[in-house]
Symmetry: C2
Subunit: 350 residues, 2 copies
DNA sequence: CTGTTAGCGCGTTCAA
DNA sequence: TTGAACGCGCTAACAG
């Protein structure tokens, strides 16, 4: 039996018309008699009938698929978000296509175009926005085209595009972290700041700086080291700090995998965390929660971000783009035990 | 501008026929004059033309999309494989749809059916096969239907279905691990064995047992504790071991996240790894490579598995299903420093 | 090299 | 409640 049974075949076997078969199977209008419906369903079963989603897509103009674009699916931060999207999508009977830009944000636009070709119902962009004006314009143009076609777009990170957005409160989280760390007695920081043009990285740095300032602590230019947003980026940035900077007592890496790299770099010099240096991250990815010492970080509910993005997309009926802000919460761990035994603690220990 | 420009519009604007426009744009047969081609491309650009993939799919009978089914996309093991699949797919101009069964392997069949509706060109099943005969039969039936329709299927794990398979040499890896651990002087093991019906878990246990036997070490029934294939499963299984078993000096968790849970459980009792107990895992997921102590584990090249699966699918031209075996390599870390100072080491330290 | 035409499988009119 | 017929956008024959 080559190829596939078609709805026409089903109708023939059931002895009804194409239209009746269609109605019985997708149940759009419930105007099919119980008896015929039964017949049709039986025929479909018998023939291993599988509705042709492409035909349906052509007819309706859009596919029941949502596209998702991430910088790196192997990064727990994004696989966490993807997990939330997929779970919510599953509940809605939607399929999810995922594309990974491999950290080249310039590729986002290409993938949006790809999802447009597929006539996907929606696209979720899960990576940080960048400060590149040209890149943003290119992406915006593609997003506009996607929407002109009837598709919906949502972004998880910053509100830089006029679309539904789940804003991660990076500033607020990093600021709270700075407050807690200064409360713990730290005064001499280094920040492993990620790429200069990544807004998530920039916002976390800015928020951190604000929190420090409120405690009367300044961050000099040398105390901020840029690097890739990855484990290796953290490792290298940390090496630079260790070589060029003295008198640091706490390092803030703007994401958890960078913090991981930083810790590795510190240890590779024979130093210990937190004895010689304290380290904090951002994100609270689950694989790191059992690390010893427990990494101080800022918790982001990744699955929730994904779920919210999908829900926004489905509930938006052509209205103005909405923004949903998601707060982050500091988790203090043994990686930042405090410089001196000060009493105050503004967050629970992890 | 509502809706979307169609190929017909492009043809009209360019002043050529539909066929010419089609040929110029997808370049199937290169029989279009340079001048007309230029005109067509310009018209397409002007109109923001986006080829309708659904129409193409309907015409050709299959979509240039490959479906992937994983037990849990948030598990680094599977996001690693997914990363490999996506990279290879990108190079081939294919899109990837991903579905997560959330560890309910019974849902695999449903998703295969879903991908059949989409007329996806191929499906990759990335989770362990199970020992459930009924489940396997159901899945096989669905896979057969998928293939009857012209789709290709590949599996990463065990060869239990008559399809292209990338076999992970779990037995060999676990056996080598047992050899190395016994060489290190360990004699009293506990195995956190995962779910009873998961073949990956079972194979790792079997291989480990074989390796132990070769060193004259037996594993009693009580020394094997089943549990979920997750961090929490490892935690709980380890708690059981700690409560019910004495005299253990090394714990083998059949995957890395279980090992992570095990270590957490050990520490929650105020014990230390490796001072009080040594721990080994399986998989070598990247986030754990910087853990202290370095987790002894068995390295699996996750991205490679994904890439190989995709390549098999694309290269298979209806021939008999092929099998590709991928070896695993032991990585010894400080989580298993050795029971006594014995000299022999058969693998490099991580 | 280019144009005309006939479906691919389905949903949805409109009639009956 | 059911059926007949059209068209979604495209590609692959077949003509010219």
């Amino acid at each position: 039996m080559e190829g596939n049974a078609t709805l026409f075949d089903v109708a023939r076997v059931a002895g009804v018309s194409l239209a009746t078969a269609s109605r019985a199977i997708n149940g759009s209008a419930r105007t099919v008699g119980a008896e015929l419906r039964e017949k049709v369903l039986r025929a479909a079963q018998e023939l291993d009938y599988s509705p042709n989603a492409a035909a349906r897509t052509m007819k309706r103009g859009h596919a029941d698929v949502v596209g998702m674009i991430v910088p790196d699916i192997a990064d727990p931060y994004f696989s966490g978000i993807a997990s939330g999207v997929m779970k919510a999508a599953d509940e809605q009977g939607l399929m999810v296509s995922i594309a990974s830009t491999r950290r080249q944000s310039s590729r986002e636009a290409e993938y949006v175009a790809g999802f447009r070709r597929q006539r996907n119902r929606a696209v979720i962009l899960a990576g940080s926005r960048t400060s590149s004006r040209a890149e943003t314009e290119t992406l915006k143009a593609e997003v506009d085209r996607f929407e002109a076609q009837g598709g919906r777009v949502a972004v998880v990170s910053q509100r830089k595009l006029p679309v539904d957005t789940v804003v991660v409160e990076n500033r607020q989280g990093a600021r709270a972290l700075a407050t807690d760390l200064t409360d713990l007695g730290y005064r001499d920081f280094a920040v492993l700041a990620g790429p200069r043009d990544l807004l998530s990285a920039k916002d976390r740095l800015d928020g951190f700086r604000t929190g420090l300032a409120e405690a009367g602590v300044e961050l000099s230019r040398e105390q901020v080291v840029n690097g890739e947003f990855s484990r290796d980026g953290g490792f290298q940035a940390m090496e630079q700090v260790l070589e060029e900077l003295g008198g640091i007592d706490c390092v803030f890496a703007v994401n958890d995998v960078m913090a991981l790299g930083a810790i590795a770099a510190i240890r590779s010099r024979g130093l210990d965390v937190p004895r010689h240096l304290s380290v904090a991250g951002f994100g609270d990815i689950s694989t790191l929660r059992d690390m010893a010492p427990r990494l101080t970080t800022v918790r982001v509910d990744l699955e929730r971000l994904g779920r919210l993005a999908l829900e926004m997309i489905l509930s938006s009926e052509g209205g103005a783009p909405r923004t949903r802000r998601e707060k982050c919460q500091v988790v203090l761990g043994a990686s930042t035990p405090g410089r001196k035994p000060v009493g105050r603690r503004s967050s629970a220990r992890g």
